[in-house]
Amino acid sequence: MALLQLRGLNKHFGGLHVTNQVNLSFETGEIHCLIGPNGAGKSTLFRLILGEYAPGSGEIFFAGEDITTLKSFARIARGLSVKFQVPGVFKGLSVRQNLEIALQRTRHGAELDREIDRLLAFLGLEAEQKQTAGNLSHGQKQWLEIGMATSLRPRMLLLDEPTAGMSPEETFQTGEMVKRLNAEGMTVLAIEHDMAFVRQVAQRVTVLHLGQVFAQGSIDDIVADERVAAIYLGQAHHHA
């Protein structure tokens, strides 16, 4: 069953179509990766799903409900959650407090403390819990934010370049973390450039290009698709 459905989604800034008639459907329980060259409209699509932008036309359905006009926080309350591209932690607050703020909406008292401790262990940040989040390493910040996003127990987790700036080893660990969360029942949608990561986690891959769905399939289908290689090459050409 489709958990998230985008129907004919359009967003344009002036004459520029950033997303153009996007129809996409994400199934319950899958890990889905969104790839595409820079400017393909991936991040705009995320902002539309999260309600940070209002679409020019089209509809967004989540778990069968039309959420097109809902505010961001209301979408989160319905079971969406996100990890931003630039680590979005509360830099001036302690690691523990970051998690507390994420969790306190749904948990209270002793249960809240227990859950924070469990998450700290899960993220490997027990030793850093009293540190200010701004002092963490880049990779640790990424994990902390993933931890905050997942602590909401969302039905669907959106990850915008979760491994940006990570070492190959950290990237691999992040991939394993995503798979573990998925195994617990979380649907995952990730924007990612790192093909090793995509290969490690993705069950399905969608290629966006110029604001439109360009191709869709398994990672092997996509890699074998010459047209996909061509748009990436074209882009590389462009930049050179």
Binding site: L50, E52, K71, S72, F73, A74, I76, A77, S81, V82, F84, G88, V89, F90, K91, G92, L93, S94, Q97, E100, I101, A102, Q104, R105, G109, E145, M148, A149, L152
Partner: protein, 354 residues
């Protein structure tokens, strides 16, 4: 009972400096000193000290909105003035009998809060932020000052209360508490001092609990990263609005007590200069901590008072310099900086003993 204990646990937390036996011992000593102080002084001096305490509420309100919430509100003096004038209008019309002044205090604070609710709705639900918030609130304040300054004519009256334009309103009754053998009138001396001191303690402790509660967590989260806070499922506009209204109520409390203390209020209490002063106290003290703000406000006010012997213009120039230098050199505030140093020293002493 359990609820009460968990409430008291919130007196300490990550959002407030000062914890443990040492801090609360110092707190108790300061409190006992403040309670005992009138026995060693005369009524006039005690009344002047009460005047210092009057300003604590507006300072704490700015600390809450700006320091904790990250929203720069220059409109605190507007709420101060609204509540002050409301108290005057109400008591001049209905008098002080049957404890009405107490009702007027509450009503005046409520009026300030309602105005804040309206203004805040347009601002926060319009999602204006940063510098714009500062200038919209300041524009409202300046407007109110101008409005009140031109109410000189005899037409400008609400019931029995003449607004009196630039000269302001005067002659309202002080706060009066009904009592068995005749009402207690709290003129600006010992009685009023104790009332205001009690309010300072209650508000200070109450705010400590508030900022360390889950509400306070969200408020500082919005200051740190509003987008992330919203994407954790919080309707940040609501939290900002509630925080703004609480702050306006506190600023209003200052306004009411100021009016009751001196039995007058003028439009200049909402002007540019008056609006700058709370900013100076809070910035110099340390805006992101209640205790630093409280201590900073009292210290700077005392310094200001000492300087006005040489003329209030000179004192204000020094205040301006103090503000500029604080922002340039110690942006977190002088008292907060000092408290951090003390905290480190205490920690080191403890570490040495173990």
């Amino acid at each position: 009972m359990n609820g009460l204990i968990s409430l008291f646990r919130r007196l300490e937390g990550p959002q407030t400096k000062g914890r443990g036996l040492l801090f609360w011992s110092v707190f108790m000593v300061a409190l006992i000193g403040a309670i005992a102080y009138p026995m060693f002084s005369d009524g006039y001096t005690v009344g002047n000290t009460a005047y210092f305490f009057v300003w604590v509420f507006i300072a704490l309100s700015l600390c809450l909105i700006w320091g904790y919430g990250g929203a720069l509100s220059f409109g605190q003096t507007a709420f101060f003035g609204i509540a002050g004038y409301s108290y005057g209008i109400l008591t001049l019309n209905f008098g002080a009998a049957y404890g009405f002044t107490l009702v007027a205090v509450l009503a005046a604070v409520a009026i300030a809060a309602v105005v804040a609710l309206l203004l805040g709705y347009f601002m926060f639900f319009g999602r204006i932020e940063g510098v714009f918030l500062g200038i919209v609130t300041l524009a409202v304040t300046l407007m109110l000052e101008r409005f009140m300054a031109q109410t000189a004519g005899p037409d400008w009256r609400i019931g029995a209360a003449r607004l009196n334009g630039f000269n302001g309103m005067s002659g309202m009754p002080p706060i009066t508490i009904p009592w068995f053998d005749g009402p207690i009138v709290l003129f600006a001396d010992v009685g009023l001092y104790y009332l205001i001191l009690a309010l300072v303690v209650v508000v200070y402790l109450g705010l400590r609990i508030l900022v360390n509660s889950s509400f306070g967590n969200v408020i500082v989260a919005i200051r740190e990263n509003p987008e992330r806070a919203e994407m954790l499922g919080y309707d940040i506009r609501k939290y900002q609005l509630i925080n703004f209204v609480i702050g306006a109520g506190l600023a209003g409390l200052s306004g009411v007590l100021y009016t009751a203390w001196g039995q007058y209020i003028t439009p200049s209490s909402m002007g540019m200069t008056s609006a700058a002063l709370p900013l100076i106290w809070v910035a110099v003290g340390g805006r992101s901590d209640l205790t630093s703000t409280l201590v900073g406000t009292l210290v700077v006010l005392a310094g200001f008072q000492a300087l006005t012997i040489y003329g209030s213009q000179y004192a204000l120039v020094v205040m301006g310099l103090l503000l500029v230098l604080t922002v340039l050199i110690a942006p977190n505030g002088l008292v907060l900086g000092a408290m951090n140093v003390i905290g480190r020293l205490v920690a080191r002493a403890k570490g040495g003993r173990n």
